[in-house]
């Protein structure tokens, strides 16, 4: 048994890079297999504090070696259940990184670790000496972990075998997370973490609506509320919906009223327009309604230019934060773009007309295949005029009216002129004369910049005038 060695452990080492010259051993990464796995385990099957090494130990490893590596953390406790596994596993990056001389990147089967020669100089010879303090760190940070046991795999064959097991576990977890919807749970979670700076902010996190800051999923909310009942995350008994499509719940309204100090009494989850969710200021992306095209655009923080409405992210964000309900603008988290309930009351993806390019690529998997080419980016449209042209060209649903996919209800009528002036009439007459009355809708769009509906409006007006028959 290797003797205990006092390691330097502090958050200041998070982000520490171990360079080639200081490398003792490299684990996983681009050149070798690697994984990390946390498993909720019955208390009687855990030997608390034990670290087992399967394969050659650290002291037997030559400087500069790259090797396969796996770690399995068995965790147990009264409050521990399967859904907490990924939450615990995700802390691995930070907690391991706190150790001076240890670099940890990525997660799950992607891990890439480096051990520095400074640990060798300190006299470290065994993985046990590194992972025993890790158990203490976990227990300190997550007091609900009552028992913890770690197995380290360095034997290549064993890593391969365990990695296959781990892949099955990840897949099952993802399946559950993806398959879990608002209907499947009785409890949502609220979060008032941001009230420190946005005093009327009151977030709701549900399986279908991850937080707008991107930091909290329903699973995270549940874990946090469980672990720390007095903390900033708290359960909301869902009850029955007042409006399931808009995501209005009596319990959420009550929570909003109470936590906002009476500022708001209604807050709906899946809409942009009527009593939308509050935006604290931490949102990863911002959605903005453009009345000229009756559609919604979305910009992310990294988008530097002006959106088609003429406003850069900073201006829109400046008007939206502070824990306010702002009709027409909404802060949203990146994960929300993968939700089946994404803005479902407003038509969901059928109502999205523009996205910043980087964001569109990032959330590609969440966008329905048919809609993907119909959503403009800054490469297609930089102002309302060019956006209109683009939308006409691709036959975007907003042009002729959106029937929202969730229930088939037609919620917008499509583009209509309010006033039809003589200029429009003359253009249409000229167009009809030029084409000899044989109207091609594509040509209408391209030459007149009008939707079919708008064209027909002008035609009807001309008929009313008696110019056309």
């Amino acid at each position: 048994m290797a003797e205990e060695i006092k390691l330097d452990i502090s958050p200041m080492y998070e982000g520490e890079r171990i360079r080639k010259g200081d490398l003792w051993v490299e684990l996983g990464g681009p050149k070798a297999d690697g994984f990390e796995l946390s498993l909720a385990t019955p208390m009687d099957q855990i030997e608390d504090g034990k670290v087992t090494v399967v394969g050659p130990d650290l002291g037997e490893t030559a400087e500069g070696t790259t090797m396969p590596f796996g770690m399995v953390f068995k965790v147990g406790g009264e409050k521990i259940e399967k859904d907490l596994e990924s939450i615990i596993e995700r802390r691995n990056h930070a907690l391991l990184s706190y150790i001076s001389g240890l670099m940890h990147l990525n997660q799950r089967y992607d891990i890439w670790m480096r051990i520095g020669t400074n640990l060798k100089k300190k006299g470290v010879t065994s993985w046990t000496q590194i992972y025993k303090p890790v158990i203490d760190l976990y227990k300190a940070e997550m007091p609900f972990i009552e028992k913890m046991e770690i197995t380290i795999y360095t034997d290549p064959a064993e890593v391969k075998k365990q990695l296959a097991n781990a892949m099955a576990v990840y897949a099952a977890r993802d399946e559950r997370a993806k398959g879990l919807h608002d209907e499947d749970v009785d409890v949502f979670y609220g979060c008032t973490l941001c009230q420190a700076f946005a005093p009327t902010s009151a977030c709701v996190v549900t399986p279908d609506r991850p937080s707008l800051c991107g930091a909290i999923t329903w699973f995270d909310g549940r874990a946090a509320a469980k672990v720390d009942p007095e903390g900033p995350q708290f359960p909301i008994e869902k009850g029955t919906a007042i409006d399931a499509i808009a995501g209005e719940y009596e319990a959420i309204n009550q929570m909003a009223e109470q936590r906002s100090g009476g500022e708001y009494s209604v807050m709906k989850l899946y809409t942009f327009f009527d009593a939308p969710h509050t935006s604290c200021g931490c949102f990863e992306t911002i959605g903005f309604y453009m009345p000229e095209v009756d559609g919604i655009g979305i910009a992310d923080r990294d988008f530097k230019g002006a959106a088609p409405n003429g406003l850069p992210f900073s201006t829109m964000a400046g008007q939206t934060g502070g824990g306010k309900q702002v009709v027409g603008f909404l802060g949203m988290g990146v994960l929300y773009y993968f939700s089946p309930k994404f803005l479902q009351a407003d038509g969901g993806w059928d109502r999205i007309v523009w996205m910043s390019k980087g964001l569109k690529e990032r959330v590609k998997a969440g966008i329905p295949e048919a809609m993907f080419p119909k959503i403009a980016t800054e490469a297609d449209a930089t102002d309302i005029e060019s956006l209109k042209k683009f939308l006409l060209k691709v036959d975007h649903p907003v042009v002729n009216g959106v029937s929202r996919p969730v229930d088939g209800a037609k919620i917008t009528e499509g583009w209509k002129f309010e006033d039809i002036d003589d200029d429009m009439k003359e253009k249409v007459i000229a167009f009809i004369e030029a084409t000899g009355g044989d109207i091609d809708t594509e040509a209408v769009k391209a030459k007149l910049g009008m939707s079919e509906g708008q064209f027909m409006q002008v035609v009807e007006a001309l008929q009313a005038d008696g110019v056309l028959e």
């Binding site: 452990i9 502090s10 958050p11 200041m12 982000g15 907690l95 706190y98 203490d136 760190l137 300190a140 007091p143 008032t192 973490l193 941001c194 009230q195 420190a196 700076f197 946005a198 005093p199 720390d228 900033p232 100090g261 009476g262 500022e263 327009f273 200021g281 931490c282 453009m290 009345p291 000229e292 095209v293 009756d294 923080r301 530097k304 230019g305 002006a306 409405n309 003429g310 406003l311 850069p312 900073s314 201006t315 964000a317 400046g318 008007q319 934060g321 502070g322 306010k324 702002v326 009709v327 027409g328 603008f329 102002d383 309302i384 005029e385 009528e413 583009w415 209509k416 002129f417 309010e418």
Partner: protein
């Protein structure tokens, strides 16, 4: 819904107007359109944003253009918590003919003033001196820029909308062009006159009111700096918050000795910039190098780097070099690297002419604040002036037209170089001379007594006699160049010249990189770091500002920066400290600017700019409150300062501050709720603001949610703290980043750094860590188990061990929604 007009508005008056208009014409509000509540006055029309930010969405706050007593309540809030402690340099008052009055033992002066009042008066005068220097600098730039370039649109770029945070917060106005800053300058000047009047005999007598006035002056100082930097940023197209501003060359070794070397020394870039423009337009860079000293150096390297429209050549900044910080001046002039010198204003040694004349280095005074007894040649032809300087007919001239001064500077540097070659040679010690001087030393040690860093000069000479020059090398940067040793030496040994001789190799190889001053912090950066700063998960903003002119200040400012940037703090630097920390490289040969990113973010380090760019650090704090937390900042200074004091973990350090500007800078930070740590010599400023952790009554704040009073931990514990060593400074700075609004994770991280620094440098935990603990989750992970034991055993806290919770003990419970304030009008009215 169809295509229609949509009004989005915010300001109640405008909203009412629009509603009225809509009512008049119901066609304007077709069915289904909406008005967006709480929006800024953005009117979106078909196809284009017709009108954006024409008017300001924020209503005018309560205190536009605050006068001397307007924010007095806020000052007393600060002073009642952070008690004034004076260290008088003098027990008498000698300011009027009744005096000198002995004020010891509670005696009063002839006018009735007591020692505290006198100290307060001197503090106010010192702060005013600094404030005047910055404001006058702004006034000069205002006239100069408008004369030279005409009025220009005030534009900070797309990523900065809160573009003049101090001007907006203090005056309640939004300048739209450079000319609009005239109003801000007039305001500053009026306040300065009123404040200075209060120092006359028979005016203010109460020390706290002197200090309130000093705080007012500090605020005016911050505004004066903002005016300066905004004017020059626009007029000279300097970076507007680019995290990747260019790396520029710094160090005496970068000045090409095959060219004429012109030094621009001071704080006002006008003449130095003209020299650069002249060199560029005349295609003279093959023949001349320009090196800056003190803040002019930083500003010259910022010129025309963004490629916006400007009336001067593009990308000019990186063509200038930074010779170094002000503390290196006397070492520089003795090193033989320069051929001509232009001085402008502030922080210029009074004997600059004497030092240059001895070495046949022509001097051009370019600003009426420093004329050095030189003839005013502003109206003479350049040819004639150059001829007079190059022939050494006169040692220097004053030229108050920056364009002419720039031309004369460049032409003189080039032409005089060959002519002074022999004098240059003579001004440098030969080996024989060096040895001769060494022999003259009697080892009396009088030099060591007057040396601010107490360098053992006699010992160094004794070692040099044995052929060991190492002590002369290793203490070269410690030397602040004050030359008091030379003045004292009974043997008249030119000690600084000995230093020069012993460090020729170092000077030749002193080549480093510095990130050019990037200017303001962007709104987009604030949006990213606002929440982590307020919650505490970015442990703090460390501002390393001012001069590093005292013992080891040079290396120590690098050490301090590195410690905090490594720990994930946001580190910002300005002025001479930014220059001095560039003089060190890591094992890979990288300076601190090459080791880390330049964003306003954790684990990054920004060179904000020169001294006047300090205003952007105030600006960043204001932006956290206004952009991130939606506090209205317009004419609302005390509200914003209150927010910063309670919620924005930031701390400044001035490690070796020397001028009165440092006093005004620190006092300006204090009024905004940002504490500062200074180096021991700063007791010369006579006053500290120290909190008393042992007095619970000093740490009562209002919970804005319901108006109840709440006891808080002493956070931040001091406003102006004097630390004796860099280790003590770092420990204190980590502590001064605590804020009552830290959440558990944030407090845990801040406590971790506080404890880690203490363990690293003092080998023990700090004595007072426990008073900052509100919840088990606040405890640093690495120390949690031991700390809980200590809390139970030593401090008598009751702990539920199974649940890992405190039953009793902490000053107050952790509460994420806690909304601390010191201003009663911030209590939220229930709807």
């Amino acid at each position: 819904m169809g295509i229609r007009k949509c009004f989005i508005y915010f300001q109640p008056t405008q909203a009412a107007y629009i509603k009225e208009e809509e009512a008049k014409n119901s066609m304007a509000t077709p069915e289904g359109s909406f008005s967006v509540e709480d929006m800024k006055n953005v009117q979106i029309n078909i196809g284009a944003v017709v009108k954006e930010e024409e008017e300001w969405d924020q209503p005018m706050g309560p205190f536009p253009k605050p006068q001397v007593a307007t924010l007095r309540n806020w000052d007393y809030t600060i002073m009642n918590r952070y008690h004034i402690m004076y260290c008088p340099a003098d027990d008498t008052c000698t300011l009027c003919t009744y005096g000198p009055c002995d004020l010891t033992g509670n005696q009063k002066g002839a006018c009735g003033i007591d020692i505290a009042g006198t100290c307060g008066k001197i503090v106010l005068i010192a702060v005013l001196m600094g404030t005047c220097a910055h404001t006058a600098h702004g006034r000069h730039l205002y006239h100069w820029c408008l004369d030279r370039f005409g009025d220009m649109k005030f534009d900070m770029g797309d990523e900065i909308l809160v573009d003049a945070p101090l001007t907006q917060t203090i005056l309640g106005i939004k300048p739209k062009s450079l000319k609009d800053y005239g109003e801000a300058l007039e305001y500053c000047e009026e306040e300065i006159v009123q404040l200075l009047a209060a120092t006359h005999s028979g005016q203010e007598g109460w020390y706290q009111d002197f200090e309130s006035k000093a705080l007012h002056s500090g605020m005016i100082d911050s505004l004066g700096k903002e005016i300066c930097d905004m004017l020059q940023t626009v007029a000279y197209d300097m970076p507007r918050g680019e995290a990747d501003a260019p790396l520029v060359e710094i160090g005496l070794g970068t000045l090409d000795q095959n060219k004429g070397v012109l030094i621009a020394y001071g704080h006002n870039l006008a003449a130095g910039a003209e020299a650069m423009i002249y060199a560029e337009n005349q295609n003279l860079w093959e023949k001349v190098d320009i090196g800056g000293v003190c803040c002019t150096a930083i500003d010259l390297t910022r010129i025309t780097e963004t490629g916006r429209d400007s009336k001067i050549p593009k990308n000019l900044g990186p063509k200038a070099k930074v010779a170094g910080a002000m503390g290196w001046w006397r070492k520089m002039v003795r090193s033989g690297v320069m051929d001509a010198v232009m001085v402008d204003e502030q922080c210029v040694y009074c004997d600059v002419l004497e030092d240059c004349q001895k070495r046949h280095i022509p001097v051009i005074a370019t600003n009426d604040k420093i004329m050095l007894g030189l003839p005013d040649r502003t109206n003479d032809p350049a040819d004639q002036i150059v001829e007079d300087l190059v022939s050494f007919k006169m040692p220097g001239v004053a030229i108050l037209d920056p364009v002419k001064a720039g031309e004369v500077g460049i032409r003189t540097a080039i032409a005089v170089k060959p002519k002074r070659a022999q004098y240059k040679q003579e001004s440098l010690l030969t080996e024989a001379q060096f040895k001769e001087y060494l022999e003259k030393c009697t080892g009396c040690n009088q030099c060591a007594f007057v040396c601010p860093p107490h360098t053992s000069i006699s010992m160094m000479i004794a070692e040099a006699k044995k052929g060991n020059l190492e002590p002369f090398s290793s203490s070269y940067e410690t030397c602040v160049g004050c030359a008091r040793c030379e003045v004292t030496c009974p043997q008249e040994i030119p000690i600084l010249a000995l230093y020069e001789y012993a460090n020729r190799e170092y000077i030749k190889n002193a080549k480093f990189k510095m990130r050019a001053g990037r200017g303001p912090v962007r709104d987009t950066e604030i949006r990213k770091v606002g929440a982590p700063i307020v919650l505490g998960t970015i442990p703090g903003v460390i501002a390393i500002i001012g001069c590093s002119n005292y013992p080891k200040g040079t290396k120590e400012c690098y050490d301090i920066a590195k410690e905090f940037v490594d720990r994930g703090y946001i580190v910002v630097a300005t002025g001479c400290m930014a220059m001095d920390m560039s003089l060190y490289k890591d094992e890979e040969g990288k300076t601190i600017w090459e080791q880390y990113g330049g964003a306003f973010d954790g684990r990054n380090i920004c060179n904000i700019g020169s001294c006047v760019a300090n205003a952007h650090i105030h600006g960043a704090a204001i932006k956290v409150a206004t952009i991130f937390a939606h506090r209205n900042h317009r004419a609302n200074y005390d509200d914003i300062a209150d927010y910063i004091l309670s919620k924005v973990g930031a701390c400044g350090v001035a490690w070796g501050a020397f001028s009165q500007k440092a006093a005004s800078i620190a006092t300006g930070f204090n009024r905004l709720g940002v504490p500062a740590v200074v180096q021991p010599h700063s007791v010369i400023y006579r006053r500290t603001f120290m909190g008393r952790a042992d007095k619970p009554e000093d740490w009562q704040v209002i919970d804005a949610r319901d108006g109840s009073m709440q006891q808080i931990e002493p956070a931040p514990e001091a406003m102006l703290y004097i630390a004796e060593t860099k280790e003590e400074a770092m420990l204190e700075m980590a502590k001064l980043c605590f804020r009552p609004s830290d959440n558990a994770m944030g407090r845990g991280i801040k406590l971790t750094h506080y404890c880690d620094i203490s363990m690293k440098y003092f080998g023990k935990l700090p004595d007072d860590w426990h008073i900052f603990v509100r919840d088990v989750k606040d405890l640093p992970l690495a120390y949690q188990a031991d700390m809980m034991k200590e809390l139970e055993e030593k401090h008598g806290w009751k702990i539920d061990w199974k649940a890992k919770k405190f039953i009793s003990g902490p000053l107050r419970p952790a509460d994420v929604s806690f909304d601390p304030t010191n201003i009663p009008r911030k209590i939220r009215a229930k709807k």
